[in-house]
Amino acid sequence: MADRAEDRDGLRLDRLHVPLGPALLDWPAGLVLRLSLQGDVVQQADVEATAPTSPYPPFWNEPWLQARVGERVSRGDAARRLCAAHLDSLGRFFAVTGWADLAARARHVRDRALAGASTAELSGLVRPLARRAARSRTLRRLTAGLGSLPAGHAHHLGVTGPALAADGDAHSRMLVWLDAVGRSAAACDDSDVLDGAEAVGPRGRLDGPVPPSQAMLNALPGLLEGTEFACARIIVASLDPDLDELARLPVPGVAHG
């Protein structure tokens, strides 16, 4: 399991090869990161993504994908799904930063959103949550500067969605989520029809050359190298790729063979 290699300071140190995932608490399901650790500093990270084979479209992208193929989906339903998706990501993020209390609250609100709670109830639940997370100076201190992904570089890698909008570190990505959760919670009752042309799911543009989560996975090794173990977990959680997006869907009308 261990060998030795030069570390950043030119010392020869033991190196541990540690796989993270595919099943780990608060970890994107199916993701495997093969880490080379020295002490608890990540020297190298290789991403292995196991795409599930599923007859269903990725759950979090469902409304936008349905709208794209011409089904009638209301904007409110899409907003509700977006709200729940980000709350799900936030729950994982808070859990990884060790804030079990806020993680439990975020998951409770997520479940309420999916259970069809009214706009008023959702907004009432989201507001104190967002305030606590955004105002926490401890959380800012712990997550600021981790996994910095400037917009230019993100664009180059093909990353879209919150990670591109955040134009910064793990903390700014969390703030983008909080902001989007607040706005989408207020829009859950919108009954207008969702425009099929604007296919932007919770993690980014769905009509790009690769799924948004694939772009995030491509960005991961660069962000992880040289970080401490705990920071690496926070960086992964702050991007929260959804491996369902990589699923090989059976294409309707095409014979397999």
């Binding site: 608490l25 859990a95 804030w99 609250r105 409770h108 639940l125 201190r141």
Partner: protein, 314 residues
């Protein structure tokens, strides 16, 4: 000076600590369920949840223990068992009211030495199972120890300095008028922080962190796990309870007997620690080390200096 408790107190002490730890864990479980369900629920639901830690202990005890490959079983066992032992030994000098099992002349040093056993305990428990995540938990605790121990020792030394004695009974007597917490607020604050760090609990739970699947405890199962995690609660209770004789006047107080004041004050400190845990995320030690060395250590030294000057001019 504190009286000596009767001999049977030696047997009552662990049971008492255990009871307090179970109540505290129950309180924590109720709060956790409140966060999960969005509301605290009726008193009946809360009572059911409060028994969760007790049921969890029973479940662990009857569960088939699992073992990792090439694990060093004795090492992990010693680590797990050392934690509750350290907690109970540290509690020996803890006065309930004005009586402790043994009011050693150097009780404060004894307390500090016993809690330092936790360093070995967590490291052994993390190292033993031959697993990466538990190993990371183990060395995280050593890093944590480096961060909290120095300000912590300075803080408890300040209390000893104020009483001009290392005997816990003398420290309590010196607070018959004014609590040390009033004129040593910095030392008191630092002590409370390190009380949580000592039990690697609250914002200092990184060694047993969620992100490393429970860290040092991740591979422990069955009785080992009960000993280790139970020992951690005991350590928290002892560390919180020790703040009462050190800074909060021990058994001194109007109307009620001494032991009742000790219990009340301990309960208040514990409730505060349990509540505070829910307000903040886990501190990463690489960031906390900076705070500990640059802010807390100088602050603790300055506090000790102030106390020393006051004592010299008395």
């Amino acid at each position: 000076m504190a009286e000596r408790a009767p001999l049977w107190a030696i047997f009552v002490l662990p049971a008492l600590l255990l009871a307090v730890a179970l109540v505290t864990a129950g309180f924590d479980a109720v709060l956790a369920a409140g966060a999960r369900n969005g509301r605290l629920g009726s008193p009946r639901e809360a009572a059911a949840r409060a028994t969760e830690p007790g049921r969890e202990v029973l479940r662990q005890l009857v569960q088939q223990p699992r073992r990792t490959r090439a694990s060093d079983v004795p090492l992990a066992r010693v680590g797990a068992a050392l934690l509750p032992v350290a907690a109970v030994l540290a509690a020996v000098v803890l006065p309930l009211g004005f009586r402790s099992v043994s009011d050693l002349p150097e009780g404060i040093v004894w307390f500090n030495a016993m809690e330092a056993l936790a360093w070995a305990a967590v490291w052994l428990a993390g190292w033993g199972p031959n697993s990466t995540l538990s190993l990371i938990g183990g060395y995280r605790f050593l890093a944590q120890g480096l961060a909290y121990e120095l300000p912590h020792m300075l803080a408890i030394t300040t209390a000893a300095l104020g009483a001009e004695s290392l005997r816990v009974g003398d420290v309590v007597d010196a607070q018959a008028g004014v609590w040390f917490a009033v004129w040593m607020p910095a030392a008191f604050g630092i002590y409370l922080l390190s009380a949580m760090a000592m039990a690697f609990w609250g914002p200092f739970d990184q060694p047993a962190g969620h992100d490393v699947a429970g860290g040092a405890a991740s591979e422990l199962s069955g009785a080992d796990r009960v000993l280790f995690l139970g020992g951690r609660w005991l350590l928290l209770v002892v560390a919180a309870a020790f703040s009462v004789p050190l800074f909060m006047g021990g058994g001194h107080g109007p109307l009620l007997p001494g032991w009742a004041w000790t219990v009340l004050k301990t309960a208040a400190v514990l409730a505060f620690l349990v509540w505070a845990r829910r307000r903040v995320p886990t501190l990463r030690m690489d960031r906390y080390l900076e705070l500990a060395w640059v802010v807390l250590t100088p602050l603790a030294i300055a506090q000790a200096l102030v106390v020393a000057v006051v004592v010299l001019n008395r």
